[in-house]
Structure formats: C-alpha cells, structure tokens
Subunit: 132 residues, 2 copies
C-alpha cells in the first residue's frame, strides 16, 4: 500500500494521512491529488491529519506544496484534525503552514470550504444575488 | 500510528483502511468505532478499502464483526471502494461478507445509507408522509 487513497465527496476531495509520509508516498500523493482535481473538477481538498502525532519540516513542506498546487488548479486546501501537540510543534519549528487553511475537524473543514465557495464570485449557482 | 482515524461526517462515520489490519490495529478499530457510534449517535459507518489490494479471511472477519457490532448499536455498515481483484478474492475464499452492504465509492455509499435511513420507520424527520 504505497498510495494514499483520495475520496471524492461532492465538490471536495478527502485525504486521510495515516502513515509516515516518506519521499515516494508524498510524491505519489501530490501527483494523484492534482490528477484527481483535474479529473473531477474538485473545488476543495480536505487533508485529515488526526492520526499524525509527529510532524517535521518535510511534512510541513508537503502540505504547503499540495496547497499551492491545488490553488493553481482553483481548489482550496484545508488541513483538519490536527492534534494539539502537532500545532505546538509546527509553531516551534517555525512552520506556520502558509497558504493552508485549517479547521478542527472534517465537518468544520467542509463548512469552511463551502463558505469560501459561496463567497467566490465565479461560483454562479451559489451567488444568485450577485449584482453582476 | 497504531490507530485508524474515524471521521464524523454528519450522521455517518468514515474509516479509510490504508494499512494492513493486524490484531492490535483491528481490535483498536473495533473498540474505537463502537465508542464513536455510542458518543456521536451515528447511524451509518462507511469503510473505505480502496487502498486494500490483498484481502484475507482475517480482514473479512473484522469487516463482518464491525458490521455486527454497528448493527447492534443501530448503525448500518457499508464497505466502499473495493478493488475488482479484492471482490474476486473474497468470492474465491468463500467470504461473501454477510451482513455488510457494499457500494462502489463513498458517494454512492452515503446515498445508500441515506436511502436506508429514509426508509427506516423510526426515523421521524425523514418520514413526514408516514401513515401512522
């Protein structure tokens, strides 16, 4: 099992990280995710890291990469389920996860993504009262 | 990482199996899942096995156990994302996954759970036209 499954849930993609992200797994995840965004037209990516108890600069960089790649393909990234200790470590390591949104759990992450989509002027179906 | 995270999504719980289920992980998963059903009052459990390429009788038994435990706590279990080769192996092993519903992917699994909830006479809010 050297690939992390990506689940499509409506307009969003969900990835649950349960294993240590070493080089090959991380590269596969990045490739699979951009291909999946391209294929499905997903508007958001939720990355659940509730099973991750230790975070390092590599993991921080991968999350940042994913967020940047997704953004280029017009999808926002939300990291959800971060353990308190991981949040402390990230700040102590000086990795504030720039460009990545965070939410306490998947449900709140979905609400965040939906509210961002709703406030996006390109999203016609959610903006019926758009003045233009 | 010796625990598989359980994600709450509305009325349902979602578990993504990405690692080999050996004894301790499987027991932890069973325990965590029944506690989570009890805590959240979830009505359905989605188990994504899209990352599982090899299935054996132990895995089949664990899935069956989870379905039985969940059913006792009034939650249905749907196994989603099964790879074609896994379906073949299950039948060849003589493990037809009794008591477990299956669906092609998470989205279809959610629709299946929602339709089962809607047809459940106990579920008042979804049965406004109930003759009783």
């Amino acid at each position: 099992m050297d690939r992390i499954p990506i689940l499509k849930m409506g307009q969003f993609l969900l990835v649950t990280i349960q294993i240590d992200l070493y080089d090959r797994i991380a590269l596969n995840l990045e490739t699979d995710l951009v291909q999946m965004i391209h294929k499905t037209g997903a508007r958001g990516v939720l990355i659940d890291i509730s099973a991750v108890s230790i975070v390092d600069s590599f993991m921080g960089r991968i999350l940042g990469n994913i967020a940047t790649m997704s953004k280029i393909l017009d999808a926002e990234t939300v990291v959800v389920g971060m353990q308190p200790a991981v949040a402390i470590t990230l700040v102590e390591l000086g990795l504030p996860l720039n460009g990545v949104f965070t939410a306490l759990n998947v449900e709140r992450g979905m609400i965040l993504l939906q509210s961002r989509l709703a406030s996006d002027p390109d999203e016609e179906e959610d903006e019926d009262d758009n003045p233009e």
